[in-house]
């Protein structure tokens, strides 16, 4: 029996000790009418060998691609050591560290993670992580509203990832909180601060934005503070090796920093598991959701680590908890902690600058092709919005036929941009990869110019 060690002798001896005639008798408190017969939707069991064959076939079916999609999830090199250690049974199969004495490995690791995140963001404290970047943003919105005495409005620029905005809406909509969208300047792609915003609890400041564009974070932070609101930084951890830390934004720094932790050693893996990070100033620590680890001492005065500030949490506070969350993304944080240690300040800066330089180079080469233009005349980090004078969907499909995932079609989310794609380059791309992309783009666009697809065949823009 897969994963069940009992021999027939065990079963009869155990039933004897219980005083039951059969295993079925142990279910005698369940009303017979409720009992399930055979499961019809679950196929027969398979051996490990057979499942391995099945999964390998499916993996091969999906194959490998030359990818230039970013949009919040980035292809970075992941050192081999990381996941070998993450999947050691002592990390992989441990529970939430409630029994601190038996969990010092996990607890110390989280403390080190929290330390690294505060150093990266320039803020005082970090929690042990949340589900992902989008849910971390939603929690930051709730935190801003809890911290603000009067307003239940939070300003969210349209330059924030559309799906992040959608997740924030799902999370807060039943709590009488209003999310107000801010427009961007069509020339620069940067957020425009409204002349009269009314009272609000927080302003979300993405850096870089969904467009890859660098926002004027100092001015935005100061503006939020002048209005009596919290400044919520939404940042990419890789870029923080070289971009100003949120704790240093404006006159007094952002109050909360959140973002997607995936770039720090998590594989893209069709969407997860990743983790959301959250750091804040000391003053807001009791408003922070999620697990937090603290350093303390044991009975002998020896240093040790334990979960702390649990009075915020659901298992103590129940309906008055800061959030219902009771997990962190432990294993992925285990990966991220090692990633930050292996890369260090030098390595992370190199990853960031190589990604930036690659994107600049690709954007220049692509924008030199007739029919391709940059959407915004602003500095960008490692993603860029390109406008096409052709169907983005069709061009991306043609690139796909050459093994290239050429970017993300964002025309549906931002119809005002026309046919537009968001393109990302990371340090994993070689000069040959970029050249291949440029050549194929050139060939596809010129071919389509010379022999345009029949009108009835063109895909209407979404």
């Amino acid at each position: 029996m897969p994963f069940i060690p009992h021999t027939p002798e065990d079963v009869s001896a155990m039933l004897g000790a219980i005083g039951a005639a059969s295993i079925e008798e142990l279910f005698d408190e369940i009303p017979p009418a409720l009992k399930t017969g055979q499961l019809k939707g679950v196929p027969d069991g398979m051996s490990e060998m057979a499942v391995a064959r099945l999964m390998q076939e499916r993996a091969s079916q999906d194959g490998f691609w030359s990818g230039f999609i970013g949009a919040g999830v980035y292809e970075h090199h992941i050192p081999a050591a990381i996941w070998q250690i993450v999947t050691r049974g002592e990390f992989y199969s441990a529970y939430t560290p409630y029994q601190a004495e038996a969990s010092q490995g996990t607890l110390q690791l989280i403390y080190e993670y929290q330390s690294m995140m505060t150093r990266l963001t320039g803020l005082d404290v970090s929690n042990a992580s949340l589900y992902d970047g989008a849910s971390a943003l939603a929690e930051a919105v709730l935190m801003a509203v809890r911290s603000h005495k009067t307003s239940r409005r939070v300003l969210v620029p349209k330059t924030v990832h559309p799906i992040y905005r959608s997740v924030a809406r799902t999370t807060v909509k039943n709590q009488n909180i209003e999310l107000v969208e801010l427009d961007y300047d069509p020339a620069t792609g940067k957020t425009v601060l409204p002349a009269n915003a009314g009272s609000f609890a927080g302003l979300v400041i993405p850096q870089p934005s969904f467009f890859g564009v660098l926002e004027d974070v100092h001015a935005m932070t100061d503006w939020a503070h002048e209005q009596g609101a919290l400044a919520i930084a939404l940042v990419n951890p890789t870029t923080l090796a070289v971009l100003e830390a949120p704790g240093q934004w404006g006159q007094t720094g952002a109050d909360i920093a959140v973002g997607e932790g995936q770039p720090l050693g998590a594989p893209m893996a069709s969407g997860g598991p990743y983790f959301g990070f959250m750091c804040c100033r000391q003053a807001f620590v009791r408003q922070m959701p999620g697990r937090i680890v603290g350093r303390t001492v044991d009975l002998d005065g020896k240093p040790g680590f334990a979960l702390t500030l649990q009075a915020r949490e659901q298992h103590i506070r129940r309906s008055k908890a800061t959030s219902n969350i009771c997990t962190n993304q432990g294993l992925v944080v285990t990966a991220a902690t090692q990633y930050m240690a292996l890369l260090g300040p030098q390595g992370l800066a190199k990853v960031a600058s190589a990604s930036h330089a690659g994107t600049v180079l690709l954007a220049e080469k692509l924008a030199a092709i007739p029919g391709v233009t940059r959407a915004f005349a602003s500095p960008f980090f490692h993603e860029v919005v390109l406008k096409l004078n052709d169907s983005a969907k069709d061009v991306l499909r043609a690139l796909r036929a050459q093994g290239i995932l050429g970017g993300l079609d964002i025309s549906g989310w931002y119809p005002e941009l026309g046919q537009a794609i968001l393109v990302c380059v990371t340090e994993t791309k070689t000069a040959a990869d970029l050249d291949h992309y440029v050549q194929q783009m050139e060939r596809i666009l010129s071919k389509r110019r010379e022999a345009p697809p029949c009108a009835y065949k063109t895909t209407p823009s979404i």
Binding site: E75, P79, F91, T96, T308, M340
Partner: protein, 483 residues
């Protein structure tokens, strides 16, 4: 020693660096960082050795028996990990077109279908990333359903007093007030109290069955009728699904919405606190409100459903599709078990729990509900021992660590004094359980003869008992760089 203590200026793990960096001169100076972040500067061996040593300071299923009640700490098959980490699966970007992920999407679709069958629900969405996240989705759907019917006076969620803390916390996040109802002497929902609690304000009842007291709610049919007759919906917290997997389906018990903790019942790793996965299943009337995305099968082509497919959806819960890699592991586990294997999970989990309960009873331990069957878990109360010796459930739990066993869940559920909630799971052998019983007997004897020994435990772990009060009062949440 922290990783920072290994750091030396200029030391690197250079093999991990890209060959060349690039210029940042085109970026405005005021947006660039003035000084490098004080991350550790260490070698690759430093990192490998440091974190390998840290791992050795953990208890885990792979190294110890872990009878943690309500957590289902069963063996996590290794193949689930290695096959979910095939390189093509890891390399796939979540925003890749569906055409490039038919292998992945087929896997997700089939898992969705299997979960529908084992839960007896009409639809499943795998968007939620943990049990509590699934609870949020479920209660948000209950609210969306009532709102869609103009039934906006329903603003109360009823929760038994033995429920997990996530239940009331979730209800609050969905804008509901919480009404707690008591448990009767046999550990069941107090039907009279439930009847008195329901009414035109009732949005729904959240219930775990078997309950957190380790017993099956025998009157589930009555509970179901009372709530539905009052116009409320019934939420199933899947925390204890391992006890009835393949034996009883929540859908057949009349539940309208359910979440499944894949990190419990489907053996995906707990990972020191996550990542989990909390798919939600719904009855027919809640289908339009399911969170997106979910996977559709259109004549053999698999694609992710979006806002246009489900305009009444409660919306998105993650930037992508939940914890996809966790879902992969659950799928692989489910395929290895098959339909028969699912039945066996509940059967042997229940056999092990009842055997362990019988042995502990025989050894003189008090059961919280001695007249009931154990489900996959049961409660021992040490109240008498505490009164006689001063040794608490916490002391007892800490002493178990010295004996090489992870402690059971302590002080939950809160209504049983000095309780140990014990769940052995189906993957443990009779010998392991017998060894645990011997340790329990030995500690009981220690408590009776030398209580201070037990009160001072543990002695053999990397640290002794930690000062939680100091941790909360003198907050040290991050190691600051030397100025």
């Amino acid at each position: 020693m922290l990783i920072f203590d290994h750091s030396r200026p200029g030391r690197t793990a250079a093999a991990q660096f890209p060959a060349a960096g690039g210029s940042l001169d085109d970026l405005p100076a005021e947006l660039r960082r003035k000084g490098a972040p004080a991350l550790p500067e260490v070698s690759e061996l430093d990192v490998v050795r440091h974190y390998t040593r840290l791992s050795q300071k953990n208890f885990s299923i792979d190294t110890q028996f872990y009878p943690l009640g309500s957590c289902t700490m069963k063996y996590n098959p290794r193949a689930c990990n290695s096959l979910a980490m095939l390189p093509q699966f890891l390399a796939r970007h979540p925003a890749s077109p569906d055409e490039t992920g038919q292998g992945f999407l087929a896997t997700m679709f089939e898992l969705q279908e299997m979960l529908k069958d084992v839960t007896g629900m009409a639809g499943v969405s795998m968007a939620p990333m943990a049990g509590a996240h699934g609870e949020f989705a479920g209660v948000a759907m209950i609210r969306a359903y009532h709102d869609a019917h103009g039934d906006t006076a329903r603003r109360e969620i009823i929760v038994p007093d033995a429920a997990h803390g996530t239940n009331p916390a979730t209800a609050t996040m969905c804008g509901y007030t919480v009404k707690e109802i008591p448990t009767d002497a046999s550990g069941s929902v107090d039907l009279a109290a439930l009847r008195a609690a329901v009414g035109p304000h009732t949005a729904g009842l959240m219930l775990t069955n078997p309950s957190t007291l380790g017993v099956f709610e025998k009157t589930i049919a009555d509970i179901q009728k009372i709530v539905h007759d009052a116009g409320g919906l019934l939420y199933y917290d899947g925390a204890n699904l391992n006890a009835i997997l393949g034996k009883v389906r929540p859908g057949d018990m009349g539940f309208d919405v359910i979440h499944v903790n894949l990190h419990k019942t489907f053996s995906t790793p707990h990972g020191g606190g996550g990542p989990g996965a909390g798919p939600v299943g719904v009855a027919g009337r809640l289908l339009p409100f399911m969170p997106i995305p979910l996977v559709l099968n259109e004549n053999g082509f698999y694609r992710l459903a979006n806002e246009a497919d489900l305009p009444q959806s409660i919306g998105r819960m993650s930037a992508n599709m939940g914890n996809a890699g966790v879902l992969m592991r659950a799928y692989i586990y489910a395929r290895m078990l098959g339909g028969e294997g699912m039945h066996r999970v509940a059967e042997y989990a229940t056999l092990n729990a009842n055997y362990l309960m019988a042995r502990l009873r025989e050894a003189g331990f008090d059961l919280a509900f001695p007249e009931r069957r154990a489900s996959h878990e049961f409660i021992v109360t040490l109240k008498k021992l505490k009164d006689a010796t001063g040794v608490s459930a916490m002391d007892f739990a800490k002493r178990l660590l010295d004996y090489g066993y992870h402690a059971p869940t302590t002080y939950f559920p809160m209504l049983v004094p000095e309780c140990l909630l014990i769940e052995p799971t189906e993957t443990e052998s009779r010998e392991t359980i017998d060894g645990f019983v011997e340790a329990m007997i030995a500690i009981k004897r220690e408590a009776e003869t030398s209580p201070d020994l037990v009160k001072g435990a543990p002695y053999s772990l990397p640290v002794r008992r930690l000062d939680d009060v100091r941790a909360a009062r003198e907050l040290d949440l991050a190691c600051k760089p030397a100025a």
